[in-house]
Symmetry: C2
């Protein structure tokens, strides 16, 4: 079960039937895996006929693409928003890790699909997602480099460190369980502490 509602994840999707299909697809992919899920499974989970599904999405792949694209857009928006705040690099990195980690905890069911079914995307949709991922990584690298230049971070290898920062947050979707783990916001704060240590953070001058 996802801990997020379709309204949280796809507030802009209309009509309601399309939104219901996205949620049904998420639950079906999470239960059976993408390859073993049929459009009939998804339609049934949404309380609709296969024909009614095709009114909104031409294929199972179109549903996966929509889930993956919107998930990547959402996390890129979090990362760019944190990186653009009018504060110092340490506070911006703290916000970035808090928000990115909490998102992957709250939306862990969607996060797993978004991360693990990349290779199932049609090539043109994969290209869009790859560009969103590239921008996300580039934003984190630029923020680390800015902190190094300002003398508040001390980092040996910006590329590997940026990948580690994102990897920690992404992997939350794999292991997070709302019954046994700390709440998403608390986990975000703890992970931000760990990441700022990884970055060799010094007091802001």
């Amino acid at each position: 079960m996802t801990a997020t509602t379709p309204a949280d994840l796809w507030p802009e999707v209309r009509p309601e039937a399309a939104r219901r299909l996205l949620l049904a697809a998420v639950e079906s992919f999470a239960r059976r895996g993408y390859h073993a899920t049929t459009t009939r499974d998804i339609a049934t989970a949404a309380g609709m006929s296969p024909a009614a599904l095709y009114v909104h999405y031409p294929s199972k792949a179109a549903l996966l693409s929509e889930i993956s694209r919107t998930g990547h857009q959402r996390t890129l928006a979090l990362v760019e928003g944190a990186a653009a705040e009018a504060t110092d690099p340490v506070r911006r990195m703290r916000r970035l890790v808090e928000d990115f980690t909490a998102w992957h905890a709250r939306a862990h069911t969607v996060g797993r699909i978004v991360q693990y079914e990349l290779r199932a995307l049609p090539p043109e949709d994969f290209a869009v997602v790859a560009e969103l991922r590239r921008r996300t990584e580039e934003t984190v690298r630029a923020l680390i480099a800015e902190g190094v230049a300002a003398g508040v971070f001390e980092v040996d290898d910006v590329r590997t460190t940026a990948r580690a920062v994102l990897s920690l947050g992404i992997d939350v979707a794999r292991w997070y369980n709302e019954r046994t783990a700390e709440p998403p916001e608390e986990l975000g704060r703890r992970y931000a502490d760990l990441v700022l240590r990884m970055l060799g953070t010094r007091p802001v001058a």
Copy 2:
């Protein structure tokens, strides 16, 4: 394609046909996902008949269980081996992270299956794997706690930090690509540097 050979991963498995079936299962699960793979797919990939497969493994689930159990045993052995070395906690943690990270880079195809198909395991096999995972996490927690007691680590939350250490290494299996990333051993050294920072390492007295 896996970057490890069946001989590396299952040196103890005899006869050769059984080992070939394990490799074929890894490649088939990686390509199609576990649920969409049939025993016929696996037999064909191994150059065998379905009947010949059943001589060695009673089911697709039995192959997944063998892959998952041996993968978890291998990583637990690495972790316990590093934690038991006759050196200080800092050096032992460095070795642990280097070996754990390099394993997930080298065996990333197997690592993905081991991590992402846990819920497809039959309950009794899942219980075995869950126990191996519990011991792995407990070993890392104990080593961190030992370093804190010795005054060489400074950690706010041992449980969350131990999970982050393992999470960083496990997620390598998701993103690692031998064509674009640093070699496994180099990545292991860089990750060990990052983890020792996360642990607030101080010079060993």
